[in-house]
Structures are given as C-alpha cells and as structure tokens.
C-alpha cells in the first residue's frame, strides 16, 4: 500500500495523494495548498490564464449527483492547468442501469484517467473509490453527501485569510443547516486546523447535529447572540426540500429567525465579512442587501475557488513518483 492507512489521502511521505476530507489534513499540507493557490490567483489574472502543468493529463469529472456550478469550476481549473477534461454526469447514465460505483470507476480508469473529481450523494463514496483505484490515479472529493466538500472549505479559508490574514484572532460564525452541510463540516475542520480559536454554529436544534461540540465548536440557538462580535459570517444554503419536511416550519420563519439581514449583521464586528457557498436563496438564508453589500465576499469566493482547485490538482498530480 502506498497510502498511509491512518490517513488514506496521504502517501507514505505524508504528501497529498487524494483530497478526500479536511478532517485530519495536516496544517502544513493545508497551507501548502493555500500558498500555491495564491500564485494561481496571479495566473488567473493574466491575459493567458493557462499554465502547462497538467499537459497531457486526463481529468474526469464524475458527478453522480448534479452540480453545474462545482463541475464548471473544476473544469475551468483543470483546463487552466492544460489538462484534458472529460465530464460525466453519471446521475442520468450508468447507475440507473444498475452499474455499481466501482464498476463505473474501473471502466473510466481503463481509459487512462489520471484524476477523478468525484461528486456523490452518499457520504464516504470518494473513500470507496480511492480505495479501489490504482496508485497512478488521484481522487478529489467534490462533495460527498453530508460529509465533506474539501475544496469549498479550502476556498473559504483562503478567502478568510485573504481578508483577515491571521486565523488565531478570529471569531467565525456558521449559520443555518449544519446537519446536512458538507460545507460546514469542511469549514470547521479547516478553521480548527489553521488555529481559529472560536467557531460558532447557529441554527435551530433540528438542524444542528448531535455531538457537534466534539468538533470543537460552540452552539448558539439565537442568531443575534451568536453573531455578536464575530469577524466572519458564513451562511449556508438551505435546501428547498428542508423547508417542506418536518425539520423546519417554513422558509419565512427561518428567514425571520436565522436569515442574515443588515440588522442582524450589525451585531457582528463592523469589518466582518460575509461568505456563502452558493447558490443563494435570497430572502431565506440571506437578504439581498447583505449578499450584494460591502461586507459580502461571495463573488471573490467564486474566483478564488478556481485557484484553489488548480492548486489542489497540481499538488496531488505532482505527488506520485511512478
């Protein structure tokens, strides 16, 4: 086995081979990704936005669950690294014919893939895939169930670092549907690893997983109490289906008690920044005047997202010495 059994995303030298989760990702690896992304931000601002790092490599975007937005940013990132990109929306094709995840992946591996970018509705699916691919293939988790969305978490901390520099003095609040959120889980692990001393999660009890405190966060049920004096306000998307089920009464009531409005934001620090992983439900988790306001860094998040994905892809691709 070329991977570290205690942390199967690292090889035996402690280098990143797959990116599966930010849980347990060492701080130096995380910083390496953020630093490399810094350089890629420079590249994305040039006339020629391409570098030849992954020339001749094939990146397969395997999306078992639809997501145009995430798939597109991975596609742009791979193309800017000069890789060939193949997009597969498996949601509508093979698995409906009863082919298993591993069969699908084995077939694609036989097409000389170098990297799989995987999105799946089931938590842990990228681990299963990573366990069954050969040593010359890298797996990047593009979101698995409620588990992790590591590149999103990294771009969020990249954005925070860009505006706030030092994590060790920060107070961060994450608001909304923590229970179903892979973004929240990734953010929490990234922030704790980078030394953020105070992370708060805010939401009604139905949307806060039990034992969330074991991840090192504080729980607030009252929005204004939770937002008091924070430096970073991270809002989460509230899926439409949650508003219909038994976890919540209605989108309106959620907005009234947990929506980020100018008035709610006023209790945070005056220079607090507001993040959202997109796509936004305006008038549910966030008010338009906040989303488009001066404290919003939602659009920079999107462009940093490409640099982060370029950094992750080039680091894992370089970490195999076959």
């Amino acid at each position: 086995m070329w991977l570290d059994p205690r942390n199967p995303q690292l090889n035996k030298n402690g280098e990143l081979h797959h990116l599966l989760s930010l849980d347990g990702l060492p701080a130096d690896v995380m910083r390496q990704i953020l630093d490399a992304a810094e350089s890629f931000v420079g590249v994305t601002q040039r006339d020629v936005k391409k570098v030849p790092l992954l020339r001749g490599k094939s990146v397969f975007n395997i999306f078992f669950e639809n997501s145009t937005r995430t798939r597109t940013t991975f596609e742009i990132a791979a193309k800017r690294l000069s890789a060939d990109v193949i997009n597969l929306a498996i949601a509508q094709s093979s698995t409906s014919k009863g082919e298993s995840v591993l069969d699908t992946v084995a077939n694609l591996a036989a097409m000389q893939a170098d990297m799989f970018v995987v999105r799946h509705a089931a938590s842990g699916a990228p681990y299963l895939i990573a366990k069954h691919v050969g040593p010359d293939i890298h797996v990047i988790n593009a979101g698995d169930g409620r588990h992790q969305h590591p590149t999103q978490g990294l771009l969020d901390v990249f954005t925070i670092r860009h505006y706030k520099k030092d994590f060790t003095q920060l107070r961060v609040a994450i608001i909304g549907d923590i229970l179903h959120s892979r973004v929240a889980r990734s953010q929490i692990h990234a922030l704790t690893t980078l030394g953020c001393p105070e992370i708060r999660v805010i939401g009604p009890r139905t949307l806060i997983p039990s034992d969330i405190k074991s991840l090192g966060v504080q729980v607030y049920e009252d929005l204004r109490e939770g937002l008091k004096d924070v430096d970073v306000v991270s809002t989460l998307r509230l899926q439409n289906e949650r508003m219909k089920g038994s976890l919540l009464a209605s989108g309106q009531e959620f907005y009234k008690y947990y929506g980020i409005t100018d008035e709610a934001l006023a209790v945070a620090k005056p220079d607090a920044i507001v993040l959202h992983p997109g796509p936004m439900n305006r008038g549910v988790e966030i008010d338009s005047s906040v989303a488009d306001g001066t404290q919003s860094v939602i659009l920079p998040q999107v462009s940093f997202g490409i640099a982060i994905r370029m950094a992750v892809m080039s680091i894992v691709a370089g970490n195999w010495r076959g």
Binding site: S100, H120, A122, Y127, L128, G145, R185, S210, D211, S214
Partner: protein, 424 residues
C-alpha cells in the same frame, strides 16, 4: 459409533461442571462423564489434552440465505461455517426470499438441513405474511411445521395494532415472539449511531431513542398481552437499563446481543468501513461497555453471532448504501472468549451464554452434556491464535469487521449426534 474424548477440560455450565473429565459417546448420545461405562470400547479416541470440551454452541441468529438468496450463500456453505465455529444448533430468522411464512417453506428448509447431517436448524417463522406487517401468519401451523418462535427479523413492523394482535395471537398458543426493538420512524434512513462519528462523517443517524421508544412499546404490550417476548440485539446502555428495570418489576422477557457489539463501537467505522454497517448500529464506547456488563450480570441472557453473509457487490458500496450485516458463525466462540478474557470472567460463565442460555431461549433440549443427552459437542483449543482472513472462512460471506485481527481459541472438533462433523 463409540467415541472417547480424552484428557480435556470439560465445561458444562448447565451441570455446573468444570473439571478434567473424559467424555464417552455412543449411539449419538452422551453415555458417561468421567469414567467409562463397563465394557466401553471406543471406535475412536479424540485426544483433548490441553483443550476444552463443551456443549456444541447454540446460536440464536444465523442467516443461511435459503430459500431464495443462494447467490449470497447456501445452506451447505453456512452449515460448514457453523460446524467450523463449533455451532451445533442454530435459529435462522425468517427474512429469506420468500420469507418463512408458510409451513411448506419451513418443512422444506428443515428437510434440506436434516439431509445435510450438519448442525440442527431451528427456523424462526415470520410474524406477518411476507413480513409486510399486515396479516398474521398461521403461527400454530408453522409451529407444528418446526418454527420455534416468530419474528419480524430486521423488517420494521410499523403498525402497533398489528404488533399488538400478533402478540395476543401468539400468546394464545404460548408461542414466543422475538422482536428487535427499533422504532422505524425514529430510525428512518439512519445508518449509524447518532453520536460523534455520524456527526463527523455526515452519516444519517439513528438515535438511542429509536431503541428505547420501541422497547417501551414492546414491554407494555408484552405485559398487556402476556406474550412470551424475546428481545433481539440490544445496542444501548439505556435499552439495557429499561430491560433491567422491567425484569425487576416482574416482566418475563429475555434478550440477547450480537457478539460484534461486545467489541466494536461507532469509532470502528473509521473511514466509512462498510463492514461496520450493522443493524442495530454500533453505538458509543459507553454503550458497548454496558452491553458487556449486562451480558456478564445476566441482564442480557445470551450472545449470538447475528451471522449475516453479504456478497461483495452488496458490501462494496458507499457506507449508507452497503447492505448491513457481518458474517459471524466462525467468530462467535473466539469473540466470546475474548470478551471473557478481557473482562476477567470465568470461562463457564462465558460459555453458558452461547450454550445453555441460548438453548433456554430457543426452548430446545441442547447446550449441555448430561448423560443421555444428544451428543452435540465442541472441542476447542483455548490457546491457539489465528488470524481472521475473510477468504479462508467457510462462510460464503467475506464480510467481517474483524478482518486481519488475531483471535484466540479455535475449534478442533465439532460433533453432532455423536459423529465427528468437523475436524480442524
């Protein structure tokens, strides 16, 4: 056939026996313990020096996957696994395909099993037709065909009225009802204990209240209907406490635990190991410790393998999609021994939980070495270490969370009805 099992340490919990005794078998029965009967000439002598001789094990839950699921495992493969694990009597749950809800199916299974000449098979019948939770099965007839009890296996029985009537009906005929306490709606979509690991890994969770809420209903209905209830696979400290209290108040219920729940907790899920996807879910370490203690103080009556062979295709899936269950017939003995050793319990106590206590729940005359009883015997080497390698297990299921682990205690001889059925 006369067999002399010589020089072993004989442990028979039913008869309170733990001493260096020889055992003499003839014509399928146990004919003497200690000294040979006059004129006994053995056709065969088994040297049990350094080994333990005990009753053949009784397993309260082993899925044989017949009828209908022979692509996963067959009666032949799983009965071999039973013998290799020292199990000579086993109860099989009704969740076959079709479920065991008609006397013909039960008779066929009994007939197939008998002809194999291996372990004794005791079918548990379906409580409702097709395990659909609507119509009761012909329990009395099914009992006459060979069912020892009735259950709903792991299929949720959602309608409490049906449960109530099923218990009343079973009580009419004094037929035992085996129920797994898990509230279907509280457990809906869940695949892991509602705790640290499910939170960290983002797995849909099953709260402890799914077990305790169901227990409350079952215990109430048991009292009201007078049904003989056995509770299958407790998983939580809170659940054990409820049973302990109910018994203290006079409830006549028994309960069991699966052997893997004595050793594993939610932590063992690690990076989504589908082999730790079990029903009920592995809970916290505190819950696991309570199960171990409950089994030792006999709040929990017996431990079973909860043997559940699953083929690789159904296991090699993302955690939540993987079929739950673990193969266990060959691990029941060593894992029970491991529990006893770690918790410093006397061997006779541990062996009792997989012999006489289980036989009592099943209501069968087995699990002891009384003179005159059927000669179902297990001989094992308590000091022999072996490594669990899924491919070399007899069971067709390779699915075990204990893969690669070294265990102590290996069966050397299994005798059924006075004949050597397995020899290592």
């Amino acid at each position: 056939m006369k067999i002399h099992i010589k020089g072993g340490r004989l442990i028979d919990p039913r008869n309170n026996l733990d001493a260096m005794h020889d055992l003499y078998l003839a014509a399928g029965k146990i004919v003497a313990v200690g000294t040979a009967p006059a004129g006994f000439h053995a056709n065969r002598t088994i040297d049990a020096g350094g080994k333990i001789v005990c009753p053949g094990l009784v397993d309260l839950s082993a899925r044989l996957r017949e009828p209908g699921l022979e692509y996963i495992a067959t009666l032949e493969s799983e009965m071999d696994a039973a013998l290799a694990g020292g199990v000579t009597s086993l109860a099989c749950p009704p969740d076959t395909d079709p479920p065991l809800d008609e006397p013909g199916l039960v008779e066929m299974l009994k007939y197939r099993a008998r002809n194999l000449n291996k372990a004794h098979v005791y079918p548990v019948g379906a409580l409702t037709a097709g395990l659909k939770g609507v119509q009761l099965t012909e329990m009395a007839e099914l009992r006459d065909a060979g069912c020892v009890a009735f259950s709903h296996a792991d299929v949720p029985l959602v309608d409490n009225q049906v449960l109530f009537y099923a218990m009343q009906y079973a009580a009419t005929f004094d037929i035992p009802v085996w129920l797994r306490p898990q509230d279907a709606s509280l457990a809906r979509n869940g695949v892991a204990h509602d705790g640290q690991i499910a939170t960290r890994l983002g797995l849909p969770s099953i709260p402890v209240s799914a077990e305790t809420a169901a227990l409350a209903v079952i215990l109430l209905l048991a009292r009201e209907t007078g049904a003989r209830v056995h509770l299958c696979r407790l998983s939580s400290a809170a659940g054990i406490n409820m049973v302990r209290r109910a018994r203290h108040d006079g409830a006549k219920v028994t309960c069991d635990v699966a052997v893997h729940h004595l050793h594993l907790s939610e932590m063992d899920i690690g990076y989504f190991d589908p082999h730790c996807h079990l029903i009920p879910p592995l809970r916290s370490q505190r819950d696991r410790d309570a199960l171990r203690k409950g089994l030792a103080d006999h709040t929990i009556d017996a431990v079973c393998s909860d043997h559940c062979p699953v083929d690789d295709d159904a296991k090699q899936l993302p955690f939540a999609e993987a079929e739950p269950g673990a193969t266990g017939l060959e691990l029941l003995l060593p894992l029970t021994l491991k529990w006893a050793e770690e918790d410093q319990l006397p061997l006779p106590v541990a062996l009792s939980r997989i012999t006489r206590d289980a036989a009592d729940i099943l209501g069968i005359d087995a699990g002891h070495l009384t003179v005159g009883a059927d000669a179902d015997v297990c001989v094992f080497d308590p000091e022999r270490y072996w490594k669990v390698e899924p491919a070399s297990l007899r069971s067709q299921g390779n699915n075990t969370p204990f893969s690669g682990i070294e265990l102590k205690g290996r069966v050397t001889h299994t005798l059924v009805g006075g004949l050597v059925a397995h020899e290592a």
